[in-house]
Symmetry: C2
Subunit: 276 residues, 2 copies
């Protein structure tokens, strides 16, 4: 089953557009786990167990593992998710961006070593930096398109002088991703939640691609506006929340608290669907 | 000692602009090492030992380690270089590109875990994706600017409609890196060797930044034109060659062959200096 079909199945089964981002920071862990990198797997597994029936996907961010020499715990976590939630796809958030044999190594890392269902990539080096991932049939490749941090405008928001209609870079990218690059239906796009009008614009240019939308929750995007702008019955959105769920409580009830916040966010997103 | 001073010291001591890229591919290893990911450290250490007096820097590419679960071997390799060649700076080629606390984790991975002297980063998410690395005083941060793969033109070569003079993206980036972003003298730029005129353009816009120039050797850039375009007495260039050195021989003489190719490349680059 390919990544898009996996997303659609999880969306239906869990009635959810919510993705829980697994960005483990030991300094924020509860109780006796606090400050213990050796507990990264335990902490994340508890979050997975508490939210697995509420999500469309999980998204571990590899930097948080790499900084703590915890690649082995990431492998365990991927296997754990596969075991307890076989119908929930896993997006490895790595934003890799390289070409040729180096990109092949990164694809191997994501899809063979970690058995991810999809990976995030950065398009700065152009289509050659995307193509090696597309050689893994059925795997998802989610390309950075428009990010909502201040520096997101340094390049992504620039209008391109020599392209017809002088689109902004992110607009041109969304169009290319939909029309030229998406050879086997594997692509998706990352679009920040802070600017719903831009999600709407990306959806216009890329009507069938799944959109990964970070920035709801701790980063403050408006959930309802996000769904309205991006969700379509045949084109899922994957709305990520990390810190707001992971660190909902600093006490021993952290898993229960995470479940409560995940459920609230899921329901809020679902309620917005009726407005589309 | 900061990264730029380290480069200048190694350039002088080893009379070299050559960087040996450590991109270990077990399928290309010689003799009994062939196909053995467990020999990644051994292979790379032999290359380091054979070339350490000929280089301005070493550049391990992290993907080649990550694909084989060999982060521990990368740690050993970094320590080995530090021990046998304490005056040769090490650039971790990772092309990371993320923001906020995620970028902080990547910086921690590069500078604390691996003790790299510099790291390559991708600027797609803008200055916020560079800034967290600059908080490590003295460490080098080498930003992708203009790459010579075909897709390098997808965005980097686009002219920006709303910036004065409608510069190409890579030109605007080079200027910003020199003037606005380089707060503590930590920045460098990656510029491909295939287009010497573009190296010259970047050098014009960023007169004092070190340039990391991949693409000489197996990728076929012209060494002499590269030096002429980029090298200045007070602004080093770091000309990378990986495969041409690493896989100079598939036999037991691989280290001797690597040394010979490294020496030839170094000498060729040096001979071009007199033309500047």
């Amino acid at each position: 089953m390919d990544f898009l079909a996996q997303l659609q199945r999880a969306e239906r089964k869990n009635q959810s557009m919510l993705c829980v981002g697994l960005d483990p920071e030991p300094t924020k862990f509860p109780g006796t786990m606090r400050g213990e990198p050796a507990r990264i797997f335990d902490f994340c597994a508890r979050i997975v167990d508490a939210t697995k029936d509420l999500v469309i996907a999980f998204k571990p961010q590899i930097a948080y593992f790499a900084a703590h020499r915890a690649e082995d715990q990431l492998e365990l976590l991927m296997a754990h998710i596969r075991r307890v939630a076989p119908e929930v796809p896993v997006i490895l958030d790595a934003k890799r961006g390289d070409i040729g044999s180096t990109a092949e190594q990164y694809a191997r890392e994501a899809f063979e070593r970690y058995q991810a269902d999809a990976v995030t990539v950065s398009p700065f080096m152009g289509f050659d930096s995307i193509e090696p991932y597309l050689r893994y049939p059925g795997k998802g490749v989610i390309v950075l398109c428009r990010t909502s941090n201040p520096g997101g405008s340094d390049w992504q928001f620039q209008r391109l002088a020599d392209v017809d209609g002088q689109p902004r870079l992110f607009e041109h990218l969304a169009r290319l991703a939909q029309t030229d690059w998406n050879r086997n239906g594997q692509l998706g796009l990352v679009v920040g939640a802070t600017f719903p009008a831009e999600i709407e614009r990306v959806r216009q240019l890329a009507p069938t691609l799944p959109l990964l939308i970070p920035g709801v929750g701790a980063q403050g995007g408006d959930a309802v506006a996000t769904v309205k702008a991006g969700w379509r019955p045949d084109a899922p959105i994957v709305v990520n929340s990390s810190r707001a769920v992971l660190y909902a409580s600093a006490g021993d009830d952290f898993a229960t608290a995470a479940r409560r916040v995940a459920m609230e966010t899921r329901d809020l997103l679902n309620s917005a669907r009726s407005t589309v």
